[in-house]
């Protein structure tokens, strides 16, 4: 267990060293070493834990020195936020930050609590640790190449890559701490670090938009943190314990609801989705790392931890409804987006919504689905973000319309993107199977609203992914040759993601049986067979067939003798497929666009009402819960 503190501290040490390295090369090498060593450490830790029987272990009962250190850290974060808020004249943020820090300090010094473990190693935290280390590590490797090209393209921004890498590694350390923390104060500390790191990274380019969006992310996350901070004195005064497990076991609704509220803000559920959408102004690696693959998973992780306590309570109903509603609302708004990163952001919010809905129901089946969704989502989303970033560096745009015929322009990136997209929604990849289980468990929970949300939401999800897929796969000869400027380390990262994705799909039954089932067992004490081995094998066979059919058909059709003719444009083609004769007898360039249904599903039309509905739901439920707790 000696590795655990190293996992947390080592990235933080790197974070301190990195900004002082001025040479890009040295920084890159250190980032490689750091990411690589982190992955190795995590894998060694995981294997060691598994070798010892994979037991749940509680650690660090006496930690007074570290507690004081954390208090200092919290004060430092508060001062940092205050200073930055004053500099940018965003005064309300100060109130939130100072308020919650003081609340926490007051609790720490006035309310004695029984001791207990501060950290917990179990299946779920190990899984999160693996996701953070491996996906996060590869994103850091990707970032080395990406940031180099990024600053070649964007001369207008000041190159602060040292700071950027420092923040990435700080984030990794905080995330490691977060997933292992069992003590609420520790959890809160790491929680705040991720909020602040995210804030700093969103504002990386220091443009007006970036600063604005970063403060929005900050105040929303701080609001969630405020909920967290209120929950802590509540818990310590009533339960005299700060253990997360005790809170869940006690089943007291108000603290759970407050913690869940924090989870909702961090996982960018409605009405707090706008911070994640605004976060897309940041360079792509940070979007991939923080805003899709790992940080938003912190919110989901907390909700999964809370889920046994949320089963059949007001808090659970609130969380599942908000999640389900976010799933459908975000997937509808994704239809109207042309910006690839915006689509990914909406899809992230939407998929997180599904996971949150599963967590809110809080039974074995839904958590099974939630954990699997989390794994698949993390990998395919991080892969997609990286592919979009690489494409943007090569073609100078991340507009999906500009990706027309990408398969002929940047074939390698298109394959990676294609695998990512297919993994997000096609049968029988993992996402879809989890969706299937989720549907069944929503029915079992007799929740008609969630069933409807899921049914309609998966239809809209299908639309925006298919649109994108058709765009990149279209056989449109490019006008000018574009050079693939993607560097080798970027390909390494994306390649590993693609292989991981395919492996996970092929080994799906094994993953479900040996990784997910034990986690459910730990959380609920017993595991009901969610999918029988029979069903799982059927799926594996289907998966192979879906992957193999195109391959076989490729071999079958390769030998077919075909005569190639131009596409049909009413006989008015000008020689090739890209120009036609217009009514003046002159050549006109063919321009095809997808449908975005902006007037039906536009963000401008839907965002405000959706936020209102979600806000109203939260306010009403919280009032009812408080009323119930007081009465």
């Amino acid at each position: 267990m000696g590795i655990l503190p190293i996992l947390i501290v080592w990235p933080m040490i790197l974070a301190i060293i990195l900004p002082f390295l001025k040479a890009r090369r040295a920084r890159g090498i250190l980032a490689y070493i750091g990411a690589g060593s982190l992955m190795v450490l995590a894998v060694v830790f995981l294997l060691g834990w598994l070798f010892n029987g994979g037991q749940t272990q509680a650690l660090y009962v006496e930690t007074e020195a570290i507690d004081h250190l954390m208090t200092v850290g919290e004060l430092f974060l508060m001062v940092l936020i205050v200073v930055l808020s004053i500099r940018h004249r965003k005064y309300p943020v100060i109130l939130l930050s100072v308020g919650q820090t003081l609340l926490l300090l007051w609790t720490e010094f006035t309310m004695p609590v029984e001791g207990g473990a501060h950290m917990l190693v179990d299946g779920l935290s190990m899984l999160m640790c693996a996701i953070v280390a491996i996906i996060g590590g590869f994103i850091c490797i990707y970032a080395v190449g990406y940031m180099k090209t990024y600053h070649e393209h964007h001369k207008e921004y000041k190159d602060r890559s040292g700071f950027f890498f420092s923040m990435l590694f700080l984030f990794l350390g905080a995330m490691m701490g977060l997933v292992f923390s069992q003590n609420l104060v520790w959890l809160y500390f790491f929680w705040e670090i991720t909020s602040v790191v995210s804030f700093l990274l969103i504002g990386y380019t220091r443009t007006e938009e970036a600063v604005h969006n970063s403060f929005r992310a900050l105040w929303m996350n701080l609001l969630g943190g405020f909920g967290f901070a209120i929950a802590i004195p509540l818990v310590s005064s009533t339960l005299h314990s700060l253990q997360l497990a005790d809170v869940v076991a006690s089943g007291s609704v108000l603290p759970i609801a407050l913690l869940a509220f924090a989870g909702l803000t961090k996982s960018a559920q409605l009405p707090f989705s706008s911070w994640l959408l605004g976060a897309m102004v940041a360079p792509t690696p940070s979007s991939a790392l923080l805003h899709s693959a790992t940080m938003v998973k912190a919110g989901v992780y907390l909700l999964i931890r809370l889920s046994p306590g949320m089963h059949d309570t007001m808090a659970g109903i609130l969380v599942s409804l908000i999640g389900g509603f976010t799933f459908i609302a975000a997937s509808m708004m994704a239809i109207a987006q042309t910006d690839a990163k915006k689509v990914l952001a909406f899809s992230t919010v939407s998929n997180l919504g599904l996971i949150v809905a599963c967590a809110g129901i809080g039974v074995e089946e839904t958590i099974w689905a939630a954990v699997l969704l989390m794994i698949f989502h993390a990998i395919s989303k991080s892969m997609l973000f990286q592919a979009v970033g690489a494409v943007e560096n090569s073609i100078g745009s991340r507009n999906i319309e500009r990706m027309h015929g990408l398969i002929l322009r940047l074939p390698k990136l298109t394959y990676i993107m294609g695998i990512g997209i297919a993994g997000m929604y096609l049968a029988p990849f993992g996402m879809l199977i989890s969706k299937w289980v989720a549907l069944r468990s929503f029915v079992d929970a007799d929740n008609v609203l969630l069933v409807l949300f899921l049914a309609f939401g998966s239809a809209t999800t299908m639309l925006y992914w298919t649109k994108w897929l058709t765009k990149i796969i279209s056989q449109h000869k490019p006008k000018e040759i574009e050079k693939d400027v993607t560097l080798r380390d970027q390909y390494l990262s994306m390649g590993v993601h693609a292989v991981l994705m395919l492996l996970l799909c092929f080994l799906f039954p094994i993953v479900a049986r040996y990784a997910v089932d034990p986690i459910i067992n730990e959380i609920f004490g017993n595991v009901e067979e969610v999918l029988s081995m029979n069903e799982l094998t059927t799926m594996a066979i289907m998966l192979v067939s879906v992957l193999l059919i195109p391959a076989i058909m490729f071999l079958v059709t390769r030998s077919a003798k075909r005569s190639y003719v131009p596409i049909y444009m009413s006989g008015a083609n000008m020689g090739d497929n890209t120009y036609f004769v217009n009514s003046y007898g002159e050549p006109e360039h063919l321009y095809l666009t997808n449908w975005y249904l902006r007037f039906q599903f536009g963000m401008r039309k839907l965002m405000r009402p959706c936020e209102m509905i979600a806000m109203a739901a939260i306010v009403i439920f919280i009032c009812v819960i408080i009323g119930g707790a007081v009465a």
């Binding site: 879809l432 409807l452 049914a455 279209s474 056989q475 497929n577 095809l592």
Partner: protein
């Protein structure tokens, strides 16, 4: 054993039966319009002609994708006829549709792009009801497995008439019948040339047609499991009602004009919400 036989029967018989039904459809339509119409076996003549034509193509991808569409549709249908999970069957069905859409869009041609986009809207319009229908079967019979659904003492339709009605509407979309045939149609009055099949010629188009025959039988198979129960005569009833359903689709095809995509989309979703949603709600309440 029965499973194997029924799957083989589907794989072999569906194109034949589907083609025959298509022939019936065309003849009956012609009679409804006061014409004599083509011979009953016309679809097979068409197929044989298409297979004997030169293979013209605009890219190397389309034939491949069309074949994938065909094979996946056959797999989806085979799953239904093997008595497997209906939800998985529907998921595979929509995956198959993806291949058709991608096949059409791969041309990068104005007409088939419009067709592909319209087809996407159609898939989006249909998807919720198909999922709700599967949920309805699960609530009624306690299982997603087709073999359990058809082994109940009472037909599922008793509990889910709303979903059957909804499915009837969706079937018109899936079978490309007016008023829901904006992606492509079998009629002469297709105003955007041939929608998503514009660049498909000869064998490529024949493959697409065979796939559509598989789809007809798959759709009718789903109609049948609404009615089939443990008794033997329910199979006959189901068969008759499938024929009736198909006739009604033809009738609807002939008496209605094509709708715009927005109306199609809204119509399908409203039907889904009203007929399907209320049906599901009632099922959950009485469970």
């Amino acid at each position: 054993m029965i499973q194997v036989i029924s799957v083989i029967a589907y794989l072999v018989g569906a194109p034949l039966l589907g083609g025959f039904l298509d022939g019936c459809d065309r003849t009956v339509s012609a009679r409804m319009q006061g014409r004599q119409g083509p011979p009953l076996l016309q679809p097979f003549y068409d197929l044989s002609k298409l297979f004997h034509k030169q293979i013209l193509a605009v890219n190397s991808l389309q034939l491949l994708l069309n074949l994938c569409y065909l094979v996946l549709l056959a797999i989806a249908g085979a799953m239904l006829f093997a008595g497997a999970d209906i939800l998985m069957c529907l998921f595979i069905l929509s995956t198959a549709d993806m291949f058709l859409i991608v096949a059409a869009a791969s041309d990068s041609s104005p007409y088939s792009s419009i067709g592909a986009n319209r087809e996407m809207i159609q898939v989006m319009a249909c998807e919720p009801l198909t999922l709700l229908m599967a949920v309805g079967f699960y609530l009624t019979t306690g299982s997603f497995q087709v073999k359990d659904i058809i082994a109940q003492p009472v037909s599922a339709v008793v509990m889910m008439p709303g979903l059957l009605f909804g499915f009837f509407v969706i079937m018109a979309v899936k079978l490309r019948k007016s008023p829901f045939d904006c992606a492509t149609s079998h009629h002469a009055h297709q105003e955007i040339v041939k929608g998503l099949t514009t660049e498909m010629s000869g064998p490529t188009f024949a493959i697409m047609n065979i796939a559509e025959y598989y789809e007809i039988i798959l759709m009718l198979g789903i109609v049948a499991i609404f009615f089939i129960n443990a008794t033997w005569w329910s199979w006959i009833v189901a068969l008759v009602l499938c024929a009736v359903a198909f006739f009604l689709e033809t009738l609807w095809d002939n008496i209605s004009a094509r709708l715009k995509w927005m109306t199609l989309f809204k119509g399908c979703w409203i039907v889904t919400l009203l007929a399907g949603g209320i049906n599901i709600l009632v099922l959950m309440l009485i469970r």
